[in-house]
């Protein structure tokens, strides 16, 4: 069945076993390693990699899923937009089910509001062009990975003069969020597995402060099981050698300088702003606001909406899960009141959320 293998040797159990043995032989100093990215969380859970680690190594999930870190207020605002007459809200599928303070977009859709799933922001723009009578708002979530595509669509909407399209932008950027994490006294992370996709855009530079200012090793890692093990191996090596560097294990996807064209596009359309991260709070400079030049495409400037005061979800420990302070199954609601069918918090909704990953692939907490 070799018709163009897209994953090469990166799923090879022999290579994996070799790495697992090498990690076990090398690791003496106990360390908590946080994977920042939800795709890594899924790869680890799906392939059962946690169980293959020696006792010295604890793998923790971090805030790496844009669905999970979207604040209640941002979802509440999207819901208010969907309630405006004549407005269609479009979004990536996972965002539909995330509970806001009082409702979710899926619920609003069930109540007759026009909320639609799209697979890319381009689809949302195309929808605006085919249905000129409606105002189409795209709910833009995601990190540096998805933000350039949305920037491109905003620019295109401007070039083509699409008057009925706008974006509710709640994008976030990763590096400064890591600084907030390491500054948080409750969080004790000894090393980071850095997100491969985000780094394709931003490169290695923005992470160097982890090593230079905090002495924390980090490695940019790909998404196949062997990639993840390779990343862990490189981190353990740094730790045992008493070094702290920022390195790239994912050389087939990431260069140190990243993708300058995508960054230029981001810079043209967006400017940094403060962003509210669920469970972490406001982190200065980690949001992307639409620049004045493209103000016409900013949904929040186009519509006056005032969502009610946001309310936390009782009992949900998403904030602690996102900071790696507790593991998903330490949450009292995990697999009981909170399941993927009936999620209490976003970490159980998103296919990349830590709680969903642990629920889907382990039998922990199931009766």
């Amino acid at each position: 069945m070799s018709d163009g293998d897209l994953s090469g040797g990166f799923r090879d159990p022999e290579v994996a076993k070799h790495l697992v043995d090498a990690i076990a032989a090398l690791s003496k100093i106990p360390v908590k390693i946080m994977e920042v990215c939800g795709t890594h969380t899924v790869a680890i859970a799906k392939n059962g990699l946690r169980a293959l680690m020696p006792e010295t190594i604890t793998l923790l999930s971090g805030p790496g899923c844009p669905v999970c870190v979207t604040a209640n207020r941002d979802i509440d605002t999207a819901i208010e937009l969907a309630r405006l007459p004549g407005v269609t809200v479009t979004t990536f599928g996972d965002m539909m089910k995330v509970p806001g303070s009082y409702s979710s977009l899926a619920r609003e859709k069930g109540d007759g509001r026009d909320v639609r799933i799209v697979y890319s922001p381009l689809d949302a723009l195309a929808l605006a062009q085919t249905e000129p009578d409606r105002q189409v708002v795209f709910l833009g979530v995601g990190f540096e990975t998805t933000a350039p595509a949305i920037a491109a669509v905003i620019r295109r909407a401007a070039e083509e003069g699409v008057a009925n399209f706008s974006v509710h932008a709640v994008h976030k950027t990763v590096p400064e969020a890591l600084r907030a994490l390491v500054n948080d006294p409750d969080v004790r992370v000894g090393a980071f597995i850095l997100p491969g996709h985000v780094s394709t855009i931003i490169g290695l530079e923005p992470y160097r402060f982890l090593a230079s200012e905090y002495g924390i090793p980090s490695v940019i890692t790909g998404f196949e099981p062997v990639d993840v093990l390779q990343g862990v191996y490189m981190l353990v090596k740094q730790i045992e050698e008493g070094r702290a560097d920022a390195e790239i294990a994912y050389t087939r996807g990431v260069t140190p300088e990243g993708n300058p064209a995508a960054r230029a596009l981001l810079d043209e359309v967006f400017e940094p702003c403060d962003a509210d991260w669920r469970g972490i709070g406001v982190i200065p400079g980690t949001g992307l606001a639409i620049r004045e030049k493209y103000a016409a495409f900013d949904a929040l400037r186009r519509y006056e909406v005032t969502p009610p005061e946001p309310k936390d979800i009782p009992g949900c420990q998403c904030g602690d899960v996102l900071r790696g302070i507790v593991l998903p199954f330490d949450c009292r609601l995990f697999a009981k009141a909170c399941t993927p069918e009936h999620p209490v918090g976003p970490c159980m909704v998103s296919s990349e959320g830590s709680c969903a990953a642990y629920y889907r692939f382990t039998d922990y907490g199931r009766s």
């Binding site: 799906k46 089910k97 069930g110 689809d123 099981p225 993927p340």
Partner: protein, 336 residues
């Protein structure tokens, strides 16, 4: 049911759909044949035994690599009837057409239905058409129902499975689901993967002949292999363990799944059959599958354990064990 409204996710073949069926439909409809929740009802009547099944097809796009909604509608119902071990004979077809749907496209659909029926050896004997106003449909919806004759004494059911049984799969997983999503705009990848939509009644007949002790057949359509195996494990109160490396998956499908963040076990198939057979008949059943049309890549992928948890596990390529969970809602591409 915890939701007071129907959500889209109630239609996607996963756990929410199951909750809807068990708690709402089976609250009012209490027929014994229905309550067994097999894909086709096995019915005794004076003079013989029938299998009877119906399904409704809604798919966008309606034309995709390797097939279209018409081929799906014929093959799907033929396969549902065949899962009971019956020989499918007659189909009904019902169309809901949306105002504005091109007649040219309708003809294409009909031709492919005609061809699929001929291939399966079934007759389309009755039909119905309704047209709804523009905006009230998705171009074309098709319902098909099928009837087949069941041999005397044959009782296949997901609840027949016992520890020690082997689980067979008739070919590569995920082809249909990936063929369909690869046509969606905005997903920046394309593959040469074609839908596997195919009638499997000949394959089922061949397996039945070689392995008369077969416990059940299931076609892992929406919700994929994961939903199918979870249903069987729950119905029989057993545990099923699948050997990851034994499951045939095309490299392209595996690559697309990695890229989209899909679990290949949850991706839809339209031309695959799962069979659970007693261990001593597994070799014969496998050989029969491989010799049948659409069965060349068949494999034994797992077995039934003594544990009574009703759960499905995957023994991963890396030597770990993880759950194979049912799909909840739609499979959606990850955000980045």
């Amino acid at each position: 049911m915890r939701s007071d409204r129907i959500l889209l996710a109630h239609g996607s073949g996963g756990t929410l759909m199951r909750e809807l069926i068990e708690e709402v439909f089976l609250g009012e409809f209490t027929d014994d044949a229905l309550a067994r929740m097999d894909d086709a009802a096995a019915l005794d009547f004076a003079g013989g035994r029938l299998a009877f099944s119906t399904d409704t097809y809604v798919v966008t796009p309606q034309f995709f690599p390797g097939g279209d909604i018409g081929r799906l509608a014929v093959c799907g119902t033929v396969n549902d009837v065949a899962t009971s071990g019956a020989t499918p004979l007659f189909l009904s077809v019902g169309f809901v057409l949306e105002e504005g749907f091109p007649v040219e496209d309708l003809k294409r659909v009909l031709v492919s239905m005609r061809d699929a029926a001929a291939e399966a050896g079934v007759r389309i004997v009755t039909g119905d058409t309704k047209v709804v106003e523009k905006g009230h449909g998705d171009g074309i919806y098709i319902n098909t129902a099928g009837v087949g004759v069941l041999p005397e004494g044959l009782d296949l059911s997901g609840s027949n499975v016992v520890p020690g049984d082997k689980v067979l799969l008739s070919g590569t997983l995920g082809d249909h689901g990936i063929a369909v999503v690869s046509t969606r705009e905005g997903l920046s990848f394309s593959t040469s993967i074609e839908s596997d939509a195919a009638p499997l009644n000949a394959l089922v007949a061949a397996v039945l002949e070689a392995a008369p002790g077969v416990r059940c057949f299931r076609d892992p359509t929406r919700g994929g292999l994961a939903s199918t195996l979870n249903e069987i494990a729950a119905a029989s109160g057993v545990c099923i363990t699948v050997e990851e490396t034994a499951v045939p998956v095309r490299d392209q499908v595996r690559g697309a799944c990695e890229m989209l963040g899909y679990d290949v076990f949850q991706v839809a198939n339209e031309g695959k059959m799962v069979a659970v057979v007693p261990a001593d008949e597994a070799d014969m059943a496998l050989e029969a599958m491989r010799g049948a049309p659409y069965g060349a890549d068949a494999a034994v992928i797992g077995e039934v354990d003594a544990e009574s948890s009703g759960r499905v596990y995957v023994h991963t390529a890396f030597g770990a064990r993880r759950i194979m969970d049912m799909l909840v809602g739609e499979q959606l591409p990850r955000i980045c």
